[in-house]
Assembly symmetry: none
Homo-oligomer: 205 residues x 4
Amino acid sequence: MSPRRRDSESTTTARAERRAELLGTAAEVFAARGYAATTVREVAEAAGMLGGSLYYHFDSKESIADEILSSFLTDLWAAYDRVLDAGLDTRDTFQELIIESFRMIDRHRPAVVIYQNESKHLGTNPRFAYLLDSQRRFREMWLAVLDRGVLDGTFRVGLDTGLIYRFLRDTVWVAAGWYRRDGRLSADEIAGQYLTMILDGIQTT
Amino acid sequence: MSPRRRDSESTTTARAERRAELLGTAAEVFAARGYAATTVREVAEAAGMLGGSLYYHFDSKESIADEILSSFLTDLWAAYDRVLDAGLDTRDTFQELIIESFRMIDRHRPAVVIYQNESKHLGTNPRFAYLLDSQRRFREMWLAVLDRGVLDGTFRVGLDTGLIYRFLRDTVWVAAGWYRRDGRLSADEIAGQYLTMILDGIQTT
Amino acid sequence: MSPRRRDSESTTTARAERRAELLGTAAEVFAARGYAATTVREVAEAAGMLGGSLYYHFDSKESIADEILSSFLTDLWAAYDRVLDAGLDTRDTFQELIIESFRMIDRHRPAVVIYQNESKHLGTNPRFAYLLDSQRRFREMWLAVLDRGVLDGTFRVGLDTGLIYRFLRDTVWVAAGWYRRDGRLSADEIAGQYLTMILDGIQTT
Amino acid sequence: MSPRRRDSESTTTARAERRAELLGTAAEVFAARGYAATTVREVAEAAGMLGGSLYYHFDSKESIADEILSSFLTDLWAAYDRVLDAGLDTRDTFQELIIESFRMIDRHRPAVVIYQNESKHLGTNPRFAYLLDSQRRFREMWLAVLDRGVLDGTFRVGLDTGLIYRFLRDTVWVAAGWYRRDGRLSADEIAGQYLTMILDGIQTT
DNA sequence: TATGAATGAGCATTCATTCAT
DNA sequence: AATGAATGAATGCTCATTCAT
């Protein structure tokens, strides 16, 4: 009985590990080729199995994308919420949010690429409504920070925060397209350069 | 002058106009749904015809995308070259390139979206090799401007120009995703805000 | 009035001539590329017009093939009947039928090619039932000649006339595939060589 | 020997058998309806499956034809080469080549029909260039035999070997159009009748 | 007479998915 | 857990045909 239970335990763990492994592989492939352009066969092949075999682990291609994206977003908002709840001043909140964003790119690079490229398209599917919710929340968060910064004198008066928000949104995630873990700069260093550019400008003063 | 010639002319013109119209429609749909995810039937429907009818006007789905993208790039580089050949100083060159980029978004919005989203994928097709050439040229152009600016004191010393270039590239084009001709701000006004942000930063000094 | 009538007359004639011209062109193209593989556009283009324009002259692609084939068969059977009704002995009947066949190839080469290649396929269509009728008549004619020849001592006893008939049928028409009017040998010369081969064999005696 | 290997073997064999079965069916259908006129759905239906399912086994319609034709030609030339390398005199060489040809029709009837009907059209496709190569070799082989026969006195002087070759080529293969394995005459018997006709003529001497 | 634009059915092919083994 | 064979809907594309001009 006890060996049985242990088997069962280790099997459950092994299964979870296999799933995670497959999700990682799938995310990599979806990010590289695009979700729609990637065939289930390609994902399976990258995982060393045949097309049909993936269906033992997942219900559908869609549910693979679902798991990739939702686990990324869960992680992302946990990190953002930690920053927002820390009671920092506007400038530090801004900086920490940017830094956490680049750390997310470091930890979930393929998921971020998929999120960036496919949100608009997938969002029309009820199953992925949470993508649009997340984008709405993201917008509210940044607008709140920017608006607060204008009010409290952290940011320039006359700033079009709606516009700045859009640039922030795009620039932050788009970095997932070229970021490499083994690249010249760490995620934190990139965040630093980015913050300098955004906060102080690239021009000499 | 003879009626014959005029007939022929007007026919040729009508045909060219129809083509341009169809290309505009196709660009709109490709931009909205993604090139791969868009079916020829959808493009045709948006143009008020049936799938097969498009093939009277174009050889293939690919050739539609080709025409959209290559005419955009021709226009783009003509504008960039005008700026580069004008003998402006670094700061003005930088500003004018940014301004022209936003004007391009105004004139070729759907084409820019397609360029932004599909270049990587389409570029593997020899027919679209010019997309990669354009990206290479784009990179060289911006790096040259940024490096010159660092040398001549226009831009901060210590700037990672490789990194800044990436942010520039992405932010400029990504605006095509939300820009509306009838929006609150004109292309030139957006360029102005963008330049302030990039050059002077969003922080009070 | 009289000029009017003459116009009308000459128009009618011109029309008939145009039809014949178009049929000739179509036959040429069908023979070269195969009926099914030839598009109406290709036929039209070979005639110097656009696809749709052919439909002013003909009801359908099928009716073009119909006219080509039926006019060939009419001509063919007129010639065969002349031979059969001439009261010749078996050997001369045989020879004349072969000679007429090669003359038909000379006069209707493309039609013969189409007949040879497409009969089986087209024959399933009720409109082209006459093709199968013709083949039946053809078979009866040759079997009658061969059987009579065996009986009257013209041809070898022990000949499997059913088999010989098949070889005759195939070899005669198949020559349309390579015959050229401006070739080294005339139709009559080819018929002569063919007759020697069939009647006397190629072996020295 | 191990169960594993045997499993693998039997799977491989089963697969090869299924392929062969499907190729046979496809050949039958292509021969009956013509390659171009046959739809993939028709082939699939004849094999008891749906159109798309064929693509699990083959890359394309073209590759099905390719496999059918190339395996026939491989077999054909192996047989011809055996005859040519046997050091026979002209007459026996001639006879054996004819006999082998009819045996080929017996073994590869549908493939021969396809070869006969589609070579010209398919040959323009680089993938099927070997069809034209085969025809060239075939021509050289027969001309060599015929010319040698005229020189060594086996065949009549004054024979137009170019012409005779053409008749030979066509008559031999065209028999595939009507040959039935369960017919009145065996392939060897048909070859015998054919040889009598060609060598000695059908006329009494 | 002929053109040019469009139709709509049909084709080869792809691919997510199913399921017996 | 994974395989291999098959499904069936959808896709890009072709082509005979129509019809207003």
